[in-house]
Symmetry: C2
Subunit: 668 residues, 2 copies
């Protein structure tokens, strides 16, 4: 008897209907607020419909059932369709980032795309580092995808420490060419997306040698494959790096060079140059790349929030539908969302999504200001903004990863199913802790700025992100149940922790350590200090944003926004009680009151939980989750998904006849 | 130009050679100590060689490159080979658990096996729940794999709450049969390993109805598939549940019943019975299953340790080989293990492995005592041991999962590669947080026992795991830098936290909450309290074990064991400073000293780090990691692994001609 795919019923799960009736605010008002206006919401819906309703962009078999190779082929097929469609979309390629960067892209390109780096790194590098002539030669070809590029920086042996890269580009004035080489195995480029089988060009970062002198790392345009046949060119060793925890559609590759010659004009020369005779002409604008780095971190904070938001919607809806066990033994089984332990897994992450959105917006504004300042030659604010962007990338990726995992586990066994989409979301979000600056390394960069500023306190009052350090070392304010008090307490804790950590470094130097060794030996405390600074800053930004919003929203919505703000503040406070008791004026009994406050907030938010995740307004296609769909038909969807497994297409698998039956009979 | 697989050089990485020379103790002594004697080490090596050197048990292509279906087929092939080989091994099937349960099994069955549940659940249930006649009928067939069974308890809609299971078995006295039905979709059995395409029998847990009365959940033997053709029998709806985060070789399945009839004698009747006329005869021995549950938890603590141990070895060796960046700017790039932040990611988990091993041994002894007590009718100690086994399962699985992820991230991008084996290890270890009792649910069971005991303090002095609560509420001892002081402080913290949490419940009851609601509303604090109790108990057990070991080992090894014990104690202490400052007599300045103590311990352990993970004596085949091999040829292995990707078997993938080239030319 064959089992046929179940129809998903048209009716919404009654528990979700009930939840939506209970909601105390208008979800549409919140949706428009988060989008930035009703018209923006409408535009977003149109964009989503244009792409998501196209049957050619759907997968027949979910990627996870295909072989690694088939997954690549399917990713290329979908990617090409999407970019074709992008040309048809009004506005076209200009909307690439809007369309592919955010939630829509994550729905279309389920496990990454081989063309992502082409748009995110290759083209921007041509723009940022190529001179006018180079842009004329390559930019249009790249925009129209006549050539497909990637960005090859990281090597098998070097990631964080860019100065240690081994690939060489040696100038030969006789032929006016650079000769590229990978002197060792560890010099092989490793990780670039699309490099494995897709790209035919790359920006390659290499140590520039000219006139017998190394001039450090510079970018070069290198053709990798023949434009007609796609065969790798002579001296190019190329392939994909193999299976990974996630993003297996991205076709990450390796790349080695053996005396590969490229014309002199393939070095990107907007800043530094090599003249035909081999003379190196230097540039002084190395700090200009800071701007781009801050931009990338805006995007990363947004991504962290996007992944966390998906997991939050899925787990919250599931927790409203799933009924398990009893609270009072004479009553029926309860929605698992009624367990306070479950609320404490869900609701703080709903609040965290808002926190990350608001801090990403703040960072975006800052990036725009900085860009203007840079253009007028002002560089003073760069170190501070570099420091805050490092810690925001770190805290948002780490907390989002922790959140996604907490939320996945909160869905029990069903969260372990690929069809829940939670494992894949985790694959994306955890990667963020490593790429674009490994989190521990970035925290130490923020820490270095904090210690330096602390040691030279004159700058504090001018600083947007650190002026709190000035006032919070000595004063002490008595407990009150307010976000203000929590912010003040966190600031005081951070300031005094910085002070202590700085003393520890100094003591070690006095004992005879070099400053660098003293730094390393104090680094466990340094990263904890930087993290605390980052979280404190997020609470403060959240507070400012909600206070602004309150002026423009209905009283009902205002109450809910305030509750979420308080929840994030309380949640942040309670994860640092050790430091708070050590460093701030807060008392033990205050902790007890804040714990009770947490429990009150969870109870207040409970009736609005589903309304809050509905207000994230994410379509089922984007969520791609059997557990998270708007109608809450969780069990029907879980079952319907099983019918997509090719193993279920036949009653008896061949392995029964080949291996199992002979084995079962062999020991009779 | 084709790229050929690199040979792995025979030479050990010089950094590892240097590390091994530095080691201050004899690793062989530690290996023998952990194995329980030199002869035990030898036996283990023989077992490992017998299986691991057999080329038929190796995979030609790593599983991750195959499709989901091919992965299943390959799992069946390997599984059948292994069990054939097991018959040849002297001692044979008796050694199943030894061979398959531990590290050897994890190497042979890379992503789980469809026959695991047959041995771990199906056969034990026949033994534990079948009467003599039933055992005679089925046990030998099961032992020889003439039939292959699974254990079907969990349903799509019910996991934790067993009483809520919906599958029915209704007795029909006319035919002396039970009629099995799945009244709803949520009644479908869901998750049993091997159920999808492998098993032809199952133990099915169902609500027993006889003489119009429901008698609750009972186990039934149900034939699922024809023994000849393997076709599902009439009324049996069966298939696999689809892709998961991990264990995709396990063939987890679903199962629905439509008027499936089985003989009366297929109900497992060792305890309760249904007589031919339908009379239900009850049993009073429901507590006897506690013994089995404790046994399962011994195994789970061992598993948690096994996964953590693998990740620890991999990340530690990698951190000795990987060089990146500089500490002092005039010196060469350092081994990343020289960064104190990296040490703090690695070394506490080396110590945690020991902690979990020792507490698993303790639990194993307890299980044996309990088994003896149960046989003589003594049940007094069961609730306490149930409580401690719940929290030990929880803490070991949660901390091991956190550890594996920390260690994976500590390997940077390379830890994201499947060939590092870290993603797969995480897939296994995180599943443990959910199965065999979801962690939050189990913590609340331990909490219930703690609160109950606290409310009735007379029992404390008799209790092995809780007597510390008696003395630690009032006294206070002054700081000293000793594990004893840490244990005392943790105990005092736990006791006073239990007291506070109990007061919070009582206050809520006084305000008019039912006890159950009060319990639920206090549950965030309850689980934190139970966790603290569990960790405190582990530190104490670790302390006792090391003190015993010290009498039998060399002075060099004794020093190292003491350092690891101290590190685990300090690490546990520092993750609870909030509670410690709130509840114990410890002072703020004590925390500062303990932090310094941590940093000293990391420095002391640094020279022995590689020696310590070498002493876990895990072969390269078992580790299966490009980053963790004994010779440390990390980069060669990473590269060699890429050559196993079928995508790299050809220079140009067909998707270039099918999709990419037309797309690249379309916008010219």
């Amino acid at each position: 008897m064959a089992v046929h795919a179940q129809e998903i019923s048209k009716k919404t799960n009654p528990d979700l209907v009930k939840e939506r009736k209970k909601c105390t605010f208008n979800t549409l008002e919140l949706i428009h607020l988060l989008d930035g206006g009703e018209d923006k919401t409408k535009e977003r819906h149109q964009r989503e419909a244009f792409f998501l309703k196209d049957p050619e962009l759907h997968l027949e078999v979910p990627l996870e059932y295909l072989s690694h190779k088939e997954q690549y082929e399917e990713s290329v097929r979908i990617t090409c369709k999407i970019f074709q469609k992008l040309q048809e979309f009004h506005g076209g390629l200009e909307h690439i980032r809007e369309i592919l960067g955010g939630q829509l892209g994550s729905a279309l390109l389920k496990d990454g795309t081989p063309l992502g780096v082409h748009y995110v790194m290759f083209i921007p590098t041509l723009i940022g580092q190529g001179d006018t002539q180079q842009q004329a030669e390559w930019l249009m070809k790249a925009w129209t995808c006549n050539i497909i590029g990637t960005y090859a920086q990281t090597e098998l042996g070097h990631g964080t420490f860019i100065r240690g890269l081994e690939t060489t580009a040696t100038y030969d004035p006789k032929t006016e060419e650079f000769v590229l080489n990978s002197p060792t195995l560890t010099a092989y480029k490793w990780w670039p997306g699309g490099l494995g089988q897709s790209a035919n060009y790359a920006v390659v970062l290499a140590q520039l040698y000219t006139q017998d002198k190394c001039q450090g790392i510079h970018p070069f345009i290198v053709q990798l494959r023949d434009e007609e046949t796609h065969e790798p060119l002579w001296g190019i060793k190329i392939g994909e790096i193999g299976c990974k925890l996630g993003m297996n559609g991205a076709n990450n590759g390796y790349l080695g060079f053996e005396n590969v010659r490229i014309p002199r004009t393939n070095m990107l020369m907007k800043h530094s140059k090599v003249l035909p005779d081999g003379t190196y002409v230097t540039s002084s604008s190395s700090k200009l790349t800071y701007g781009t780095m801050i931009f990338v971190r805006v995007v990363l904070v947004q991504y962290a929030e996007l992944y966390l938001r998906k997991a939050t919607i899925i787990a919250t809806r599931y927790s409203a539908v799933r009924r398990q066990s009893q609270i009072n033994s004479n009553e029926p089984e309860v929605q698992i969302m009624d367990y306070v332990t479950q609320q404490n897994k869900l609701f703080p992450y709903i609040a965290t999504c808002y926190a990350f959105q608001f801090v990403a917006n703040w960072l975006w504004d800052v990036y725009n200001n900085i860009t203007n300042e840079l253009e007028s030659g002002q560089l003073d604010n760069l170190p501070e903004l570099h420091a805050i962007s490092c810690v925001l990338k770190t805290v948002s990726s780490a907390d989002a990863a922790e959140g996604v995992e907490t939320l996945r586990l909160a869905c029990g066994g069903h969260g372990y199913m690929t069809s829940s989409n939670l494992p894949r979301i985790y694959g994306f979000v955890t990667a963020m802790c490593t790429y674009e600056g490994e989190n521990t390394v970035l925290l130490l960069q923020t820490a270095r700025f904090l210690i330096k500023t602390w040691q030279n306190k004159r700058n504090l009052s001018k600083s947007q992100t650190l002026k709190y350090l000035e006032k919070s070392l000595d004063e002490h304010i008595q407990f009150e149940k307010s976000v203000n008090w929590i912010i003040y307490t966190l600031q005081q804790t951070t300031a005094r922790k910085i002070n202590l950590v700085n003393n520890h470094i100094n003591e070690r130097v006095k004992k005879g350590h070099t400053y660098e060794d003293a730094w390393n030996n104090t680094s466990i405390e340094l990263i904890a200090m930087a993290q605390l600074h980052g979280r404190t800053f997020i609470v403060e930004t959240y507070y400012n944003t909600v206070n602004n919003f309150k002026k423009q929203v209905s009283p009902e919505l205002s109450v809910v926004l305030q509750q979420l703000l308080e929840l994030y503040a309380v949640h942040t406070f309670l994860r640092s009680t050790g430091d708070i008791l050590r460093f701030s004026g807060a008392l033990k009994k205050d902790i007890e009151v804040v714990q009770l406050w947490l429990e009150e907030l969870l109870a207040s938010i409970r009736p609005n939980a589903v309304g809050l995740v509905d207000s994230f307004d994410m379509s089922d296609e984007i969520l791609s989750s059997s557990l998270g769909a708007y109608d809450g038909n969780v069990y029907e969807r879980l079952f319907a998904e099983t019918q997509k497994s090719p193993l279920n297409a036949e009653q008896v698998n061949k392995s029964f006849h080949m291996y199992l039956k002979p084995f079962m009979l062999s020991n009779l």
